[in-house]
Symmetry: C2
Subunit: 500 residues, 2 copies
Amino acid sequence: MQEKFDTLKSKLVQIQNVNVSSALLNWDQQVYMPPGGAAARAEQIATLDKIAHEMFTTDEIGELLSELSDADFDVNSDEACLIRVARRDYDKARKLSPELVTEMSRTFSLGQRIWEQAREAKSFAQFREILTKIVDLNIQKAEAFGYEDCIYDSLLDEYEPDMKTVDLNRVFDQLKAGLVPLVRAIADQDKRVDASCLQQDFDETVQWDFGIVALKAIGFDFERGRQDRSVHPFTTSFSIHDVRVTTRIFKDMFSSGFFGTLHEGGHALYEQNVSPELEGTLLASGTSLGVHESQSRLWENVVGRSRPFWQYYYRQLQDFFPGQLQAVSLNEFFRAINKVQPSFIRVEADEVTYNLHIFVRFELEQALVSQKLKVADLPDAWNAKMDEYLGLTPTDDTLGVLQDVHWSSGLIGYFPTYALGNVLSLQFYNQSLKDIPELPEQFARGEFGPLLEWFKEKIHRHGRKFTANELVERLTGSPSIEAAPYLNYIQRKFSEIYDL
Amino acid sequence: MQEKFDTLKSKLVQIQNVNVSSALLNWDQQVYMPPGGAAARAEQIATLDKIAHEMFTTDEIGELLSELSDADFDVNSDEACLIRVARRDYDKARKLSPELVTEMSRTFSLGQRIWEQAREAKSFAQFREILTKIVDLNIQKAEAFGYEDCIYDSLLDEYEPDMKTVDLNRVFDQLKAGLVPLVRAIADQDKRVDASCLQQDFDETVQWDFGIVALKAIGFDFERGRQDRSVHPFTTSFSIHDVRVTTRIFKDMFSSGFFGTLHEGGHALYEQNVSPELEGTLLASGTSLGVHESQSRLWENVVGRSRPFWQYYYRQLQDFFPGQLQAVSLNEFFRAINKVQPSFIRVEADEVTYNLHIFVRFELEQALVSQKLKVADLPDAWNAKMDEYLGLTPTDDTLGVLQDVHWSSGLIGYFPTYALGNVLSLQFYNQSLKDIPELPEQFARGEFGPLLEWFKEKIHRHGRKFTANELVERLTGSPSIEAAPYLNYIQRKFSEIYDL
């Protein structure tokens, strides 16, 4: 059995080498590739993805997996988990034709470039044709995978294994019940927060340098990773020892660059701290996007937008930007970075309204893939949903339906994992607080090592060994994902800021 | 037949997609990869190279090639050339085992990183073990390919198809006969050239910016390419529409960065101007390294170190560096960038002594692969050859045997193509001068388009369709590569500068 396992593992490592090569081609496309390279790049990625798919879906791999299904590895061992997760991936991959895999790769790669151009031209019309194709390919994929309850389940499963739309609706209903009244209460409040201190002229290089300070502080290892700039921030990894984040920086929006950097840094900490034992295998990555977002949102918000964090760092930030911030008190700054205000752009939304942006996308995605909504009608539908949830109508499509990279690169079913991540971040963080009650005092001393160590031990090192639900149960003892801890955190934090 | 050809072409394009993906992994390794990524990267490159080799060496490709061998395509058509070159590559590739291909990829990728570290530590000892392995793998490769006259032929053929060591020796003997006395005559001359104006404090960003101006001027298309920094400058391409150069910049050595940029720019012009009809196929690249070097050395030296070039650009350069160059006359500057002085570093050598550096490497490589010289004895042998040809002994190995990246990344048999490129550059340039006698006057007006157009038409667009010898014959009517035009150029140029 060990010999068979070694054969399987060695084959899976080869396949993973092709997959991460494709990921590097994608990273390069988003970060450094000259415009002329787009067409050839789409073909290159399509070729690699097709090869990886063919290598993975051979009968030989299927036979090895079957033979190993009754191997007597401990259920939580690396070996048993690799076999289990590979089986799951294999069964799904076998349902996709090589033609569909190739066509998706090619289209999703081209989609990104067309989206960038459409965004620059502020023209949804330029994006419509490829997006229609992307939605259609996602429907084909979902049908190929199959589903029981609704087609969206099939897409969601790619990013959040074993999670169903009905589960999301349960959690999201809890969220809405808490958040919608809170947003209203804050809007009705006389007390206004002034965030103009964040909209001054912040030199981009100095912003970059301060972001690097923060990345190092939370534990990002630059010997095993790097940061670059891109249109839309993202994290990717080609090895647990080569994990890359990107950020974007705007001169007049300090929050955008800095909290984007912390967010991606949170993703990267997860990827950098997977156990070296899993390196090179398909377990060497975050287990689901919800859990991934629990890490990014934790570092961005629960840590990065907390008072203790800035008790330590605000003095340093003032030294980076004396002209801009010398006259701004810590309290003013803390309130500014936590100002609640319905706005157009998801990634720049405050913690309270953020999830409303997700609901907009979640509902539109369901309508698109169940073919109740046509792509041509998407901008209007977007604007209607924005009005419903946030009381705003985007003044152009870059502030609306063109703002996110996800759909352009084929990711449908991905957005809800952001809200799920918010919810999970508090379920997990409360548990870490039980184990280490002095975490906030540590943050106020600039010490983030204990929190990182806790997450390394409880989540990071396991990679994809356990699902989100399994992790929740292992960590919290709770049998399910619940919004209450997150809502409690939000209510406590913002009641104080807004004197509710 | 057309159907068979389309099948073959489509398969070759897929294989090429894998090859260029591997090239991107290599580019990234040299340019942006964090140190931690090295081990995984070596495996990733090895996997892609193995896959490309396996895809290429199938019986099916062999059968298609055989069936197409009597297709009635015109001998100079894209189709006939693709079949011919693919056949050549195929026959060679079939001689290599997948194990050897994988082992070479892995070792050559690791070798680069180890070389970088050894270089930083100024320690040949750190590099010895992997270099021994690299030499051994090259010997295995050469034996697998087979050869008639000497083992070095087999390695040389990888970079300069159909060229033999005996041919090189003929041309190099011509070169030595002209250059060695010239170097001596210059050394014996009382007239000294002062190059200290090039060793001032030149801001790196400003140097970079001036390099970009020059790249644009000679015709490098930044929509279809980019420049980055690396330890050792190089050019690579992932499509004719995505061609990348790198450079290195030293604050106190203006020539190093600037002429390095022009050199790589010359390579890039070749790659960017291959006919779009050949895009994606294995013809979409320079035909041999000698011809490639004829382009890079042409733009670096024949154009970039000419008086007309600086008649136009020196005023601009003075504007970039007023503090450093305002008081330096055009004539002083022109003489400085052409100062002849035996020195340690090949890439910074003047045009007269440059080829002597090549002879050092050419002879050492032959000794290594014929096993007359052990890697352990290489530094001493290097120093002895440097003394023989240049009258110098490197003070440490970074100024000696550790200076070039080539051996570390497996390239043995590559160096002589630099000297060959020098020779070819003048055979070709003289021909372009016959067609466009006013080229020097155009340079003096900052016009390089006509020269580029000439080379596009005569060489670039053909990609790998014709060999170096075929190009020489097509362009010049001469049946062979001859050193005389190059020696005449060198003698005329430096006799004037040194009043010989």
